[in-house]
Each structure stands twice: as structure tokens, then as C-alpha cells.
Amino acid sequence: MNQPLLVTASQKAGPRWTLAIGAVVLLVLLALPLLSLLPAGHSLQVSAYTLTLVGKILCYAIVALALDLVWGYAGLLSLGHGLFFAIGGYAMGMYLMREASGDGLPAFMTFLSWSELPWYWVGTQHFAWALCLVVLAPGLLALVFGFFAFRSRIKGVYFSIMTQALTFAGMLLFFRNETGFGGNNGFTHFRSILGFEITAQSTRAVLFLLTVALLVASLYLGWRLARSKFGRVLTALRDAENRLMFCGYDPRGFKLFVWVLSAVLCGLAGALYVPQVGIINPSEMSPTNSIEAAVWVALGGRGTLIGPLLGAGLVNGMKSWFTVAFPEYWLFCLGALFILVTLYLPRGVVGLLKKRGEQ
């Protein structure tokens, strides 16, 4: 499987089916928020619980997709994507906190008797600047880290461990109260976004639609990338970097581009996640979360565009169900899943489906 699956699949007989299923899923996703606007008690009404749950999973799906771009296509396993996700979330959270506190300081600052906002909070009361931060903060961090890492040709395991150290350091930093992001409580108790009440059903529906839109856009972007020459260079980079260099390509630029792109996608996903879930705190940066994201990708099938989405959906869906039905056995199940997938499904669920399709 040297070519991305979607490319292969679209060359074979599959595209009609893939497209059909995709269209149905998309329709359902678009229908969900509209159904949630129905009056309570209506038989078709979708509850806020379902909506936020699916919205959360969709945000995770975007992270999985972003991770897949760097891991599945460029062969760089990042164990630090939670950091970019959380930074995007924090940038949005800063705006929401300002919106909730009006002219005063956010609640956690008054509580520490801070009299004025730290410099990095300047301008966060404007939604536009917050949006810029959502893109810029994870993007710049990724750019700087990537620039140095790729310049010294750090790859493979080293790269994974370094990204893990990065997110761990980030978590410790954000845990500090003095850092000015609410310490381990992070940000909660948001009230409104752009003047709309955050708990209103319509606000939820719009946020959900935006998440779907971002997901579709990232899918499209990924698809274009995968089909382009750029995508092939990336795949070549993953499979034989040295040969690619001998062919006269400089891999650094390619890596850096896809790395930063992936970080920005994560940041955007984080920004959509925070208002839907209602909390952002440093535990999002814990190395465990980032490893879990890698599992979504591996489970779904890396190097494909659909796989990560499937993986994120499956694992999180299972988590939501299992933690209710058998709380004590959830970790056994998750652990077994990791092992079985790596042993028997090296190409993930998508690989399995594809095999069946070929038979």
C-alpha cells in the first residue's frame, strides 16, 4: 500500500460506494443540529447530550486527521498533538473568559488578586484576534519546533519522544497558576460567544455545523494534498527519505509545511472543542491524550483519510458506552484494542474493510 488508500480506492470500483456512504454520513451530521432545535419531548429531537458528544468526537476526528497527515503520510509520529489542540483551545478560551467577565478580569485572576491582565491577554476580548491566536499560536510553535527538529534531521522515535517532552513541558507550564491561564482548573463557566448564549440550543447547533464544516474542509484539503505531487513526495519521504534526497528533493520544507498545517488544524479543532465541551485545562496536554490520538489513527488505518475519522469515532464511542456499562473493565478493553489492532490490523479498520471489498 504505497499509495494513499483514497487514491487507490478512487481508482478502483469503490468510489461510488465510498461517496454514497460519505454523503449519507454527512447528511446525518447536518441533520443532527437541525433536529436538536426541535422542541423538547418531540420524538425526533436530538438532545444536547448527543449533540455535544458527537461534536466532541468530531473535534477529535479532526485531530486524528491532522495527526494522520504527519504520521500516515509523512511518517512523523507526533506524541505532542494534544499541545497544539490545547493551545488552540486556550486561545478560544481566553476570548470566552473575557466575554464572560465583561469589563472586569476573568474570575480566576481576581481570586489571585491580579490587578491587570498579563500582556499576552491583550486584545483577546476581540473575537477576530482570538481567531488569529487560534491559528498563530499553535502554528508558530510548530514552525519553530519543526524548523529546528527537521534541520537536525530528527526523526522516528526521537521525534516522537521530543514531541512528548514538549507537550509534557507545556502541561507543567500551564499547570502553574502564575502562568496566567487558570492553573489546573483552566477555563470554565463560559457564558456567551459573540453575544449568543453558549448554552442556547441554537448556539450549539451552529458550533456543531462549524465543526462539521471544518472536518469536511480538512478532508478536502487532505484529499487535495494526497492527490497532488506534494502528497506523493510526502509518501516517498515516509518510505525512503534518503532516496528522496538523492533525487534532489530537500525534505525539510515538505515536512515543515505539513507539520505546521497539522498543528493549525489541531488548534482549530481545539477552538471548536472548548465552547462545546465547556472546559479547557492543562490535562488536555498530558502525554496520555496524545498517545490516545495516535491510537485513533492506528485503529482506523493510517495513511488514509477516512481511517482516522473512523478510529476517533469508534474509540470515543466505545469509551462513552463502556465507562457506563463496565467502568472497571474499560482500560482492559482499551488496552486489548491497542494490542489487537497493532498485531492483527496493521492497516486498521479501513484495511480490513478494503480487504473484504477486494474479496
Binding site: M162, A165, L166, L172, L173, R176, N242, T342, L343
Partner: protein, 499 residues
């Protein structure tokens, strides 16, 4: 008749101390806390050998060795008991008891005891006790009315490296306290002297804590240096091997307590082989069932071993409960060695440093001086070539993985002696372990050694300056920067291998 009276009188006299003691005890137990405190202070100023037994019982929290009456002492009273007991022990015939008592009095003596201490000081024959008493006395004489006495006391305090001396001298030098210019200058010189000594002790202490932290990092990372460094398995379950070792220690402790209570002092030594066997066994089992299928796919070993670690954690949680379990330090690992007045080296840490070096040596010998080691190195360098030469690569993999896990188990025994033993024990060491191995250079035992001690010392040098939290963050940032400079770690394998 007079004779009989005389006898009775003598007998009463002999009984008097006993009676006095019983009366003291009864009076003490009936008194309110404030009265008890006053009593203890009085006793400390005027020691009476008859009260020795009462005071030593009080120190144990009882009225008398065989009296089970409930005695409510608080920390203040305990401190006063210690002080009064020391006062009484100065009357002991044993010079060592007197020395310990004099040292206690250096910390706790009260102005009311000056007269008594003065008398003991004058009559003390043993040189060491004499000197110790002199210091205890000097502490109190700083406020003496006679400038000559104060001067002598100040000079004497300058000789010690006692942190309390610094505070006392500083208090003396506060404006308006000491009027005599001679004493002031002497106090200034003494203070400078004490500060120098204290600084020396502090620096030594920092160096030691760095070494100690390094040895713990080393023990945590050494197993990983084999499973990850040599076999190339990104073993996220490494932390759980440490945890298994620690739980093995716990189980051994319980079994020894139940079946061989006499050997309880040495249970950590018994735990060493058990922990090694348990972790190595689990490690080999995992290698055979899971990891074997994943060689050459390092990133996937990461996911699979992460899954294994989740299962192991939850299994332990179900078996032993989510709470931490109690692993006690035996007496020979409790307490510490007083090197300088402000420097105590805990025995447990000293033992762990030695143990870490011992394990490194053992591993080095195993890898470089045995057939197994040769085979492991051969497989690491070129699996196919080794197989062609008749090395049973499968078996070697299993044994090497078992060895790495077993060493982690040994690390677990050591960790159980200084920290928590709980299901999450491994999680807190896994990132540090990876950083040590990566920083040292994958596949390099010596690299891990230097990296562990380097990190430990750097961490301990930074901590007093910027605090533990920022220190940790800074260390992580420095490692990331360092790896940019030397992507292969401190000790890189030399060669022109390219993928």
C-alpha cells in the same frame, strides 16, 4: 528503740525516690497541659535521677513501662520531655548518653537551665561531652550580663557549623541588642565563619541530592536502555515493570512478615530476586506473545506496549486496590548519617546510589562478558547476519527483553523504598526514563549513566534557583535543544549506517 527508728528512717529514705517518682507521675498525669509544661521545665532545670525512668517512659508516650493509662502528649510537651530527659541524662555514668544529651541540649536548652549546665560543664571529665556542653552553654550565654562571657560564647559559636548559631549571632547583631563593641566585632567574624561552613554543607548537600536523583533516574531507565536501546522496542510498559517490581516487594514484605517475622529487616534483599523474576517473567511472556510480532516496526511497538501498560495498571488496581500499598523501610534504611550540622545523608539514598552503580556494573558485565551479551549485541547490530551465524535470535530477543524487564523490576524495589507504591507508579517515571535513554544515546549503557547523573544534578542545581516546577520545565526545554544539536544523544554509535 532508737535503732529501730533509725532503721525505719533509713528505709523511708530509701523509699523516698520511689515515692517521689510515683507522686510525680500521678501529679503529672492529673495536671493540665500548661501545668505539665511548667513541671517539665522545672524538672529540666533541677534534674533528679529518680525521675529518669518517668521521663524515659514519657518519651515513649507512657507513664511507666508497664502502665497502659492513656497519655495525651502533644508536640510541645514532647519537646519539653526531650529537653528534660536530656537534662537528666547528663547525670548518667555513660559518656555516650551524656554526649547525646548535650547535643540535644544544644538545640533545646532554656535559660533556666544555665546554672545546672554550668555545674555540669565544670565537672565534666569527658572531652567530647565537655565541648558539646560548652556549645549548649554558649547558646544561652549570648545574653549573659558579663561582656567577657558573651565574648567567649560568641567566639565558641563561630567554631560550629550549626545553622542555629547563625540565627543567634544574627539576632545579636541586630541594632540595639549588643552594646559592647568588642563582642560585636567578634560576633561579625564568627557569623562570617559560620556562614562559610554552612555554605559548604549546602553545596555538598546539593551535590548529594543531585547524585541521589541521578541514581534513581538511572535505576528507572536502565531496563529501558536494554529494551528500547538495544532491542528497539519503544516499551511504554516499562514503567509498569518498575511497578511490578515494587508490588513484588510489597508481597514479599507481607509474606516475610507472616512466615518469617525474624527476617523482616532484610525483606528488601529477599525482594530483589523475586522482583527480578516477576518482572522478567512478565516481560518474557509479553515478548513471546506480543512484541515478537512487531520487531522492525518500532512505532507500533509503542502502541501495543501502551495497551499492555493500561492492562497491567488496571489488573493491579483490581488485585490490590486503587490505593497505594504500604511498603515500610527497614530500620537500616531509615534515618541518616549526620555528616555536618546541616548535612544529613539518608541511608536509603546512600544505599540506592550504591545499588544503582552495582546494577550498572552487573548489566555491563552481562552484556560484555557473557555469551548472552555477545548474542544480544550481535542481534542488535545485524539481526540477519547474526541469524546466519547461528545465533538463535528469537531466544536472544526473549532473554534480552526479560533481562531489561527484570532490571526494571530491581529498579522497582529501590523506588518502593523512597516513594509511593501504587498502580500509577510507572507512569510517573516513564517520560523521564525515555529522556535519559534518548539523551544518553540509544544503545549506550555508558550514555544512560552519564545522562541520568547529568539530569539529576542539573535538576537539583536549578531547583533552589527557580523552583521545582520551572526547573523541570527548563530541563525539558534544555533536553529538546540538546537533541537538536546532537540527535544521536551524548554517546552516538559511530558508523555510517543509513536506512
Amino acid at each position: 528503740m532508737p535503732k529501730a527508728l533509725q532503721r525505719l528512717f533509713l528505709g523511708l529514705l530509701l523509699l523516698l525516690p520511689l515515692a517521689a517518682q510515683a507522686a510525680d507521675a500521678d501529679y503529672f498525669i492529673a495536671a493540665k497541659a500548661n501545668e505539665q509544661a511548667r513541671l517539665l521545665q522545672d524538672w529540666a532545670a533541677q534534674p533528679d535521677p529518680a525521675r529518669l525512668e518517668l521521663l524515659s517512659s514519657l518519651q515513649q508516650g507512657r507513664i511507666a513501662p508497664d502502665d497502659t493509662r492513656n497519655l495525651r502528649l502533644n508536640n510541645r510537651l514532647r519537646g519539653l520531655v526531650d529537653n528534660a530527659l536530656a537534662s537528666h541524662q547528663l547525670l548518667s555514668a555513660d559518656a555516650e548518653v551524656r554526649l547525646a544529651a548535650a547535643q540535644q541540649l544544644q538545640k533545646s536548652a532554656q535559660p533556666a537551665q544555665v546554672a545546672f549546665l554550668d555545674r555540669r560543664f565544670a565537672s565534666e571529665a569527658d572531652a567530647a561531652v565537655h565541648a558539646a556542653l560548652g556549645l549548649a552553654l554558649a547558646n544561652l550565654q549570648l545574653v549573659d550580663s558579663d561582656p567577657a562571657v558573651r565574648l567567649a560564647a560568641v567566639r565558641l559559636l563561630g567554631e560550629t557549623g550549626d545553622p542555629m548559631a547563625r540565627t543567634r549571632l544574627q539576632a545579636l547583631l541586630e541594632p540595639g541588642v549588643e552594646s559592647n563593641a568588642g563582642v560585636r566585632t567578634a560576633a561579625e567574624t564568627s557569623l562570617a565563619q559560620v556562614k562559610r561552613k554552612l555554605l559548604f554543607g549546602e553545596l555538598l548537600g546539593q551535590a548529594f541530592s543531585g547524585l541521589s536523583l541521578g541514581s534513581i533516574l538511572l535505576l528507572a531507565a536502565l531496563g529501558l536502555a536494554i529494551t528500547f536501546g538495544l532491542l528497539g522496542v519503544i516499551n511504554m510498559a516499562h514503567g509498569e515493570m518498575l511497578m511490578l517490581g515494587a508490588y513484588a516487594t510489597y508481597v514479599v514484605q507481607i509474606l516475610v512478615q507472616r512466615y518469617a517475622p525474624g527476617a523482616i529487616e532484610f525483606y528488601p534483599l529477599i525482594a530483589l530476586p523475586v522482583a527480578f523474576a516477576v518482572s522478567a517473567g512478565v516481560g518474557m511472556l509479553l515478548e513471546r506473545t506480543v512484541i515478537r510480532h512487531l520487531y522492525g516496526r518500532p512505532l507500533e511497538t509503542l502502541l501495543a506496549t501502551w495497551g499492555i501498560s493500561l492492562i497491567l495498571i488496571q489488573a493491579i488496581r483490581l488485585l490490590f486496590g486503587a490505593q497505594n500499598v504500604e511498603v515500610a523501610n527497614p530500620a537500616w534504611l531509615s534515618g541518616g548519617l549526620q555528616v555536618l550540622p546541616n548535612l544529613v545523608l539518608p541511608y536509603s539514598r546512600l544505599v540506592i546510589i550504591a545499588f544503582a552503580l552495582f546494577v550498572v556494573l552487573l548489566t555491563w558485565l552481562l552484556l560484555n562478558r557473557t555469551r548472552l551479551g555477545l548474542n544480544v549485541r550481535a542481534v542488535t547490530q545485524n539481526r540477519n547476519m547474526a541469524a546466519c551465524c547461528g545465533v538463535p535470535t528469537g531466544r536472544v530477543d526473549m532473554l534480552a527483553f526479560g533481562l531489561g524487564s527484570g532490571i526494571a523490576g530491581l529498579g522497582g524495589v529501590a523506588l518502593s523504598q523512597i516513594g509511593n507504591v501504587g498502580p500509577d507508579l510507572g507512569q510517573s517515571y516513564i517520560i523521564d526514563s525515555f529522556l535519559v535513554v534518548v539523551l544518553g544515546g540509544v544503545g549506550q549503557l555508558a550514555g544512560s549513566l552519564w545522562a541520568a547523573f547529568g539530569l539529576g544534578i542539573a535538576n537539583k542545581l536549578l531547583e533552589p534557583q527557580i523552583g521545582a516546577v520551572l526547573g523541570k520545565i527548563l530541563i525539558l526545554a534544555l533536553i529538546i535543544l540538546f537533541i537538536q544539536k546532537r540527535p544521536q544523544g551524548l554517546f552516538a554509535l559511530k558508523g555510517r549506517v543509513i536506512d
